[in-house]
Amino acid sequence: MIVFKIAWRNVWRSKGRSAVVIGSIVVGIWALIVGSGFMNGFMVGYMNEAIRYDISNLQIHHPEFKQDYDINLSIPDGLIKAETIGEWEEVAFVTVRTIVNGMIASPKKASGVQIRGIDKEREASVTFLDSLIVEGAYFEGIKRNPIVIGSKLAENLKAKVRSKVVLTFNDSDGNITSAAFRIVGIVKSSSLSINERNAYVLQNDLNKLLGMGSEIHEIAMLTSEGVVETDIMAKYDALYPDDLIEDWRLIAPEMALMQELYGSMLYVLMLIILTALIFGIVNTMLMAVLERIKELGMLMAVGMNKVRVFTMILIETLSLAIIGSPVGLLISYLTISYYRNVGVDLTNYSEGLEAFGYASILYPFVAQETYVIVTLGVILTAFLGAMYPAWKAVKLRPVEALHKL
């Protein structure tokens, strides 16, 4: 018990030294939490942009539809199925689409395009398409055949808001159909397919032209937070085994690859930071102990045994860690919540971003458990870091120690 008391007093006896150790613990916790927060922000801000605005978490198709985009391969009873899924707890929002590949032409130029017939309200809730509008409005202001296209496509076509474009595609009987649409809005995103390859029209308009009633080709959904996509896939498969349900990993495997690569890289970077932290703590503790050679020699000379000296130093470290962690947690929490609201503006870091039409503001966030894991990790690190100096201290010979200055 007396060891505790001595250790506790030691902590406060030398304020400067304690401040350094506490400081390195605070900085360590802060670095790890803020670091992972930024990484998370990047994952969402960059990779998930395509998932968020284009692919969504899950998509359902006729199993053969995507091979050739044959418009007769619609999802049987698609609307009813979409209703059913929409009531599931795991699913936040559902939208349905009619999809046909065709040509879009302005008086200047023609280009291949994927025409998506959407339900404007539901599309906005699943893919936030309305938030990408940079010019014009989201299906407002033009009554007859409105169309929304990507900024790059608009540039290629040399078309502006209210310009007229002609869509050409095969209808359900295989006849070539053309219809004039007027651009109501232009969207911009970092995703190439949104910028360049997609055109959004209202489902009613498109289905009428295709002559396919209320059939749909695609159901896309956004899952509720924390839901595992494969669970929904299993649930859907059990209910409607004839349809093809895929999560974004299957739809865009290269993105899954990126995520894996990114995740593994992140893991190593964190490891490097942790190493730096351990080294910093070991260093400071080593100095702190060696500085006290005389004092420790005295304690041993007056009869304190080695086990106690060892425990005393460890308890000191632990106390410092326990004081440091709440401070570190508080600072990290404040940093993260501040940037979560304001966002981190990266415009100054790279001129490249803007040119790609990429929103250069990222919003870091961390999961609750990160705080716990990081804190425990850092305290453990400090503990291990104190082991070596404590061991050194124990090996001191009191007489020699007293002799040193």
Partner: protein, 406 residues
């Protein structure tokens, strides 16, 4: 004089100085390792993508990239080939004929990307042979075709069956031909897997009625970092009025964008690392100062000027920092050279899912000289700035109190 005192001060207390130097050495080492891994991963990403399909540099007829039709092809004359191959850094030039055609078998038809290739050279660039899952790979002048697995499944075609290709040839001529299926190749990217047909270059030139013409020449270069120089060389060598020379940055803007963004996150991580090692260094500096309070007090009371003492301490810091930085570089250099040639392979689930793409699941390191240079300077400046702390302490030092406290 000051120099001598400073130098002696450092070695007077070896233990303390070694810890301080060690913290700097370690900081340089960690910063170098981190940056090397980041840059290494980008280099590998570029290499993978270039190896995947495009090559580092492509040469086409001017205008081909914007309008990819066989009409925009060029004659692969000996003159062009020799100019390209004689450019320093170019290992090989792989010719291709690339266009779309309708592929048909039985009553199934699908639009497909037809690639006329030189089988041997193509394999050197993209390792196509390794992607074969059934049948045989093409030989020079082969009459047959290799299909991607997704397309073969869609057409319900098998090895030995005859594939019909119909398309538009050079200057509007009709292109039609029969190709026995010789093999099937599987690609990780669905886009490639669902639409690719490989035939021999001569057969493709016959099919599109464009003898000796090619649509692109993909270059294999010895080192990725030479791409910019090779591009410049080629642009002066070749007739840029009729040909366009494009580097991977133009060929794969998505990749460049990905790296650009990833690099920002990499730099943020680097700054966080700086914060941690900076604090570690500051800790040792602070301890060092605290430990020497008594000494400072004595020095001052026997009449040493504050400024002179500060200068001596600053020299000490400068020397220790330099030793630390040099030591850090000389440790990281051999270490990173080793790992550059022996990348660290990952294991477990994520490794498997990465390897599915034909990408090696490993951590790669870079040896760009600028990396060592930049990190060394960054840590040096950090140490020098943190080194102002002891100077500040001396500035406010009261000799008597300092001696009594210690």
């Amino acid at each position: 004089m000051y120099f001598k005192i400073a130098w002696r001060n450092i070695w007077r207390n070896k233990r303390r100085s070694l810890i301080t130097i060690g913290s700097i050495t370690f900081a340089v080492l960690l910063a170098c390792v981190m940056r090397s891994m980041q840059l290494g991963s980008y280099e590998r990403m570029i290499e993978n993508a270039a190896r995947f399909y495009t090559g580092y540099i492509q040469i086409h007829k001017n205008g081909y990239w914007d309008d990819k039709t066989v009409d925009n092809s060029f004659e692969s004359s000996q003159d062009i080939l020799s100019k390209v191959q004689n450019t320093q850094g170019v290992d090989a030039a792989v010719p291709r004929v690339e266009s779309f055609a309708l592929a048909s078998f039985d009553n199934k038809t699908k639009g497909a990307l037809v690639l006329g290739i030189n089988p041997v050279m193509e394999d050197e660039l993209t390792m196509l042979k390794n992607k074969m899952i059934a049948g045989e790979y093409l030989v020079d002048g082969d009459d047959g075709a290799v299909l991607s697995a997704g397309l073969a499944t869609y057409l319900k075609i098998d090895i030995g069956d005859t594939l019909v290709l119909i398309g538009q040839g050079y200057h509007g001529s009709n292109a039609a031909g029969l190709f026995p299926v010789k093999g099937i190749a599987k690609f990780p990217s669905p886009q490639q897997n669902n639409q690719s047909i490989f035939i021999s270059l001569t057969k493709a030139q016959w099919f599109y009625a464009m003898p000796d013409q090619i649509t692109s020449l993909s270059l294999v270069v010895d080192k990725a970092k030479h791409v910019d120089r090779i591009l410049a060389d080629l642009n002066t060598e070749l007739d840029t009025k009729s040909l366009e020379v494009m580097g991977w940055k133009e060929l794969m803007p998505d990749l460049l964008q990905g790296i650009e963004i990833d690099n920002i996150s990499g730099r943020i991580m680097l700054w966080i690392l700086y914060a941690v090692i900076g604090f570690g260094m500051f800790g040792t500096f602070m301890m060092m100062t605290a430990e020497r309070m008594y000494e400072f007090g004595v020095m001052m009371s026997i009449g040493m000027k504050r400024l002179k003492m500060q200068f001596t301490i600053f020299l000490e810091m400068l020397m220790m920092t330099s030793i630390g930085v040099v030591a850090g570089i000389s440790i990281s250099l051999p270490l990173l050279i080793y790992y550059f040639y022996h990348p660290i392979f990952m294991t477990g689930e994520s490794a498997k899912s990465i390897e599915k793409f034909g990408v090696e699941a490993a951590y790669f390191f870079s040896l760009q000289p600028s990396l060592f240079y930049n990190q060394a300077w960054a840590i040096f400046f950090m140490a020098v700035i943190l080194g102002f702390y002891p100077l500040y302490v001396i500035q406010r030092l009261k000799p008597v109190e300092a001696m009594r406290e210690a």
